[in-house]
């Protein structure tokens, strides 16, 4: 089931080094790129159907088209390498194993959108990864792929790595921009959208690492070759991260559109320890959970996920076996999102803390049925009332557990904590 487009060079020894990467085709598209007009590049990417691989799934070529023309201001490219959504761990493979593919993608994107300054925002936790990335950038400068004349062409491009320092919310594109500007990563209200007023108030495109890294293939082989993979509306491949209770967790490149359970079974070795499946989180911790029944019919693409009232997200699949205590899982989730709430908007700032205290009370066995109802109501009261979607990233999944596994929550109330726990054994 696996395909190797983005991950083609991942297994090559020292494939992250420029010399080796070049032997395997890195920067091969540069001359072709500069023979094209920027509009033609945008058109090719639009035709490929490439969708933002950060989680929102917005078509990349369309996003680029939002840039206003002739503002007289510089255009910035910000590469989102914050990868902060729990269960997401794909981009770092690119950063470490094939950074030149991403740098090549940055050149392609910059040329297409007329940008000469890229900031790569990498999460602070990625300590060794940032070193690997910086080393690759240094190599690219040395070899003339970055700097005043990209590969000898009359095109200047500066790439700067900006390190985060522990804030999930900086994965939100405007939180990311704030962070580069030296502020707290508190998302901005939109409009204005970053394409119009982004970094330093200038037109800015923000793309995920994987989206950027997909560009060399699209440019080299063409949009049609990319669309061979995936479904009609969800084209291409994706680096899926499979974690949780499977025999072979890990990162796998797969075309979009495969049946979820088949992937879990055949690619990730199935539910571990011969246990039964209890649920699947399809695209990172913020996506609503699927029951085994729902999981049967879902395929790994944007449309099928939406039909199943969940989201493709970042492609971080988490498998839950029969022993998982959904009440405690929800506690773990709320803890995370509360911890990461930027503190800007009232409902998220105050509400998530309230939800955390309530779920803890339930877990302690001190909860009442009204507490569970209140949790559910708070999800509604918080969701979409805020500047960014962090609050929804918490309330959407929490609501799904409360709905689909309500009996487990009720058991904590009616039977007390220890009995409820015993039921999980």
């Amino acid at each position: 089931m696996e395909v190797k487009i983005l991950s083609a060079k991942f297994d090559i020894e020292d494939g992250h080094k420029l010399e080796i990467a070049k032997q395997h085709g890195a920067y091969a598209t540069i001359d072709k790129l500069f023979s094209m007009k920027p509009e033609e590049v945008i058109e090719e990417v639009r035709n490929s159907g490439l969708r933002g691989r950060g989680g929102a799934g917005f078509p990349a070529g369309v996003k680029w088209g939002f840039l206003p023309k002739g503002t007289g201001k510089p255009v910035y490219l910000a590469v989102n390498s914050d990868e902060s959504e729990p269960a997401t761990f794909k981009d770092r493979y690119i950063l470490v194993k094939d950074p030149h593919m991403m740098i090549e993608g940055i050149i392609i994107c910059s040329y297409a959108i007329g940008s000469h300054d890229t900031y790569i925002y990498i999460r602070g936790e990625y300590t060794s990864q940032v070193k690997a990335l910086q080393a690759a950038i240094d190599e690219a400068y040395e070899a003339g792929y970055l700097g005043d004349k990209v590969a000898g062409h009359d095109f200047k491009l500066e790439v700067t790595v900006h390190r985060g320092a522990g804030a999930y919310v900086c994965g939100e594109e405007t939180g990311l921009l704030e962070s580069i500007e030296g502020k707290k990563g508190q998302p901005r209200a939109k409009p204005p959208f970053p394409a119009v007023a982004g970094l330093y108030g200038c037109p800015t495109i923000i793309n995920n690492v994987q989206s950027i890294a997909s560009l060399p293939f699209i440019l080299e082989k063409g949009a049609e070759a990319y669309k061979v993979y995936g479904t009609e509306k969800s084209s291409g491949t994706h680096l899926f991260g499979i974690s949780g209770h499977v025999e072979k967790p890990g990162m796998y490149e797969l075309p979009l559109g495969l049946p979820l359970l088949e992937v879990v079974e055949k690619v990730a070795g199935g539910v571990w320890k011969g246990r039964k499946l209890k649920g699947v989180i399809p695209g990172g911790s913020s996506t609503p959970v699927l029951t085994p029944e729902e999981a049967k019919t879902v395929t790994l693409d944007y449309e099928s996920m939406a039909e199943h009232k969940t989201m493709f997200g970042s492609g971080g699949i988490v498998v839950l076996d029969e022993t998982v205590d959904m009440v405690k899982l929800v506690e773990n989730l709320i803890y995370f999102y509360h911890h990461e709430s930027c503190g800007q908007c009232t409902p998220c700032r105050e509400g998530l803390g309230w939800m955390l205290k309530i779920i803890k009370k339930v877990v302690r066995g001190e909860g009442e049925i009204s507490d569970i109802d209140l949790l559910s109501e708070l999800c509604d009261n918080i969701e979409m009332k805020t500047v960014c979607v962090l609050s929804a990233a918490c309330t959407m999944p929490v609501r799904s557990y409360l709905t689909k596994f309500r009996h487990e929550f009720d058991a904590y109330v009616s039977e007390g904590a220890s009995t409820a726990e015993a039921n999980q054994e």
């Binding site: 930027c342 503190g343 800007q344 009232t346 700032r349 105050e350």
Partner: protein
């Protein structure tokens, strides 16, 4: 005239000013959209989420009114159930970690959170888990005391210090519900407008050390006034109260919005100048240190006039135009030279590029308009030739030190007509108390040539006379305000249309 547009609020067509956000545009026609973080001087931040309103047809269904420009044909929903629910929900979130200790909170009675609770919430608390605790009674400097637990994190204070004073002392540290307003240790508030954060704070998180717990706000009466601390003439609200068996006292000055004079703010010095209205006041006339009645003081003055070999009259640059013209006429009547010498009022370099002026005189432009000479030489020459100085509240001690004053007054008789019982006036032979600027009505011209009027705000138990009335008692020909206005118009061309009733509250820019 601003461009007007038509839009719909709850289905009703309203005409509002274009170019404003929904809060201001709709607010101007009397429809309130609740909000905590938005302030017109500080712009829209959009963090409190109180102002979320619905939009029908087109656009996102829910928008923050503070960040949404009013547009032609827009259909704004305020009274729909789902909008009311949002207002209720957001308030609930604001209140879950709030102490809700209104009875002991200094803000009670002028608190947005309290008011909104009554209007939009009114429910019992559902908070059955422990609240977040934070620090209380923190000294932020400049007389600002902060209570982190009462704070709603609207960030107005932070934005004020970054955008208005550009001193940036405040920040919101941490994140999630442990976020709090803080100063960086060792770098407290240090700007001359700091106490404005107390007014800006929509709740009781920022309090003034000077005012807190002195008075319940609902006991105080509020009057409009014009600050006399410098030549800016900032508009103020005078909060005062007469407690049982006490005199009418001012408890604070607060800024009053006037776009063309001071905007939304005042300086801290001006704010605290209310104290001079309460303290060190001259309340009774004195002749050679003996208290006498006003009648006797007037009689004694007239005797002094007769006895004197040459009189010179000195006038304060803080006087109102009405007082100036009265005193000018008195001087003409007495054949006495009149001086407005007040160089001491000018503190060179003290002003800034915002509100504070070098010139601490409230109405120097009035002296100029009435052709009253203010030069040091003319004053000193006139005084040298005269035997009697009548000083109408001019604080000469701002210019001359004590020994110079003694030299200046040597072998002179001095009559002081003053509101202040200061060392300077204690040197006078005869003093007559007069009203201070919160106790009379009048007009002044500020540093930008804007004419402003103000009315009497305070009536003391033994209300001293307006200086104009004293001038009349001393033989001045202008007995009524009508007389004074007529005379003013004759002298000052730009005041031809002067009629205190028709001057807008925001002032009249003179040409």
């Amino acid at each position: 005239m601003a461009e007007m547009i038509k839009l719909f609020v709850n289905g009703n067509e309203v005409e509002v000013e274009a170019g404003k956000n929904l809060i201001d545009a709709i607010g101007a026609v009397g429809i309130e959209i609740p909000h905590l973080c938005y302030h017109p001087a500080l712009g829209a931040d959009g963090n409190c989420r109180m102002c979320l309103v619905g939009l029908e047809e087109g656009g996102p269904p829910l928008v923050p009114a503070c960040k949404t420009p009013a547009a032609e044909g827009m259909k704004v929903l305020l009274d729909a159930d789902h909008i009311k629910k949002i207002q209720h929900d957001v308030l609930e979130f604001q209140l879950i970690n709030h102490p809700v200790d209104c009875p002991v909170c200094d803000q009670a009675g002028e608190c947005s959170l309290q008011d909104y609770y009554m209007t939009y919430d009114g429910q019992k608390s559902r908070m059955t888990v422990p609240q977040v605790t934070k620090s209380k009674k923190m000294d932020f400097g400049c007389g600002v005391v902060h209570d982190q637990e009462r704070c709603v994190l609207c960030g107005r204070c932070v934005r004020f210090c970054r955008q208005i004073t550009r001193t940036g002392e405040l920040g919101i540290v941490n994140r999630t519900d442990t976020a709090r307003v803080a100063i960086f240790p060792g770098r407290p508030l240090d700007n001359r407008y700091a106490v404005n954060v107390v007014d800006l704070c929509p709740v009781g998180a920022m309090t003034s050390a000077d005012f807190r717990f002195k008075q319940r706000v609902w006991f105080m009466k509020k009057e409009r006034g014009v600050c006399h601390g410098c030549s800016r003439g900032c508009n103020i609200t005078i909060d005062h109260n007469r407690e049982k068996d006490q005199d009418d006292l001012i408890y604070r000055f607060r800024p009053l919005f006037n776009e063309q004079v001071n905007g939304y703010f005042i300086c801290d010095e001006g704010r605290l100048s209310y104290r001079d209205e309460n303290e060190n006041r001259l309340t009774e006339a004195r002749l050679s240190k003996t208290t006498i009645s006003l009648d006797r003081a007037v009689t004694a003055s007239l005797k002094e006039f007769k006895r004197a070999e040459g009189i010179v009259i000195l006038i304060s640059p803080d006087c109102s135009l009405e007082q100036m013209v009265s005193i000018k006429s008195l001087a003409e009547e007495l054949g006495a030279p009149l001086s407005g010498f007040s160089d001491g009022y000018i503190k060179k370099g003290d002003g800034d590029d915002y509100l504070i002026q070098d010139d601490k005189a409230a109405n120097r432009a009035g002296l100029t308009a009435l052709n009253i000479d203010s030069s040091q030489s003319a004053f000193e020459e006139a005084l040298a030739k005269a035997g009697l100085l009548i000083n109408f509240n001019n604080d000469l001690s701002l210019f001359y030190d004590e020994s110079s004053l003694k030299k200046l007054f040597k072998e002179k008789r001095v009559i002081g007509v003053t509101s202040r019982d200061t060392k300077l006036f204690q040197m006078a032979n005869l003093v007559i108390p007069v009203a201070s600027f919160t106790e009379y009505s009048g007009s002044i011209i500020n540093c930008d040539n804007i004419l402003q009027t103000f009315n009497r705000a305070i009536t003391k138990n033994d209300a001293p006379l307006d200086m104009s009335e004293v001038a009349a008692l001393l033989g001045g020909p202008l007995k009524t305000n009508g007389d004074r206005y007529d005379k003013l118009k004759k002298i000052v061309v730009s005041l031809n249309d002067f009629n205190p009733d028709t001057i807008p509250a925001t002032g009249l820019k003179l040409t």
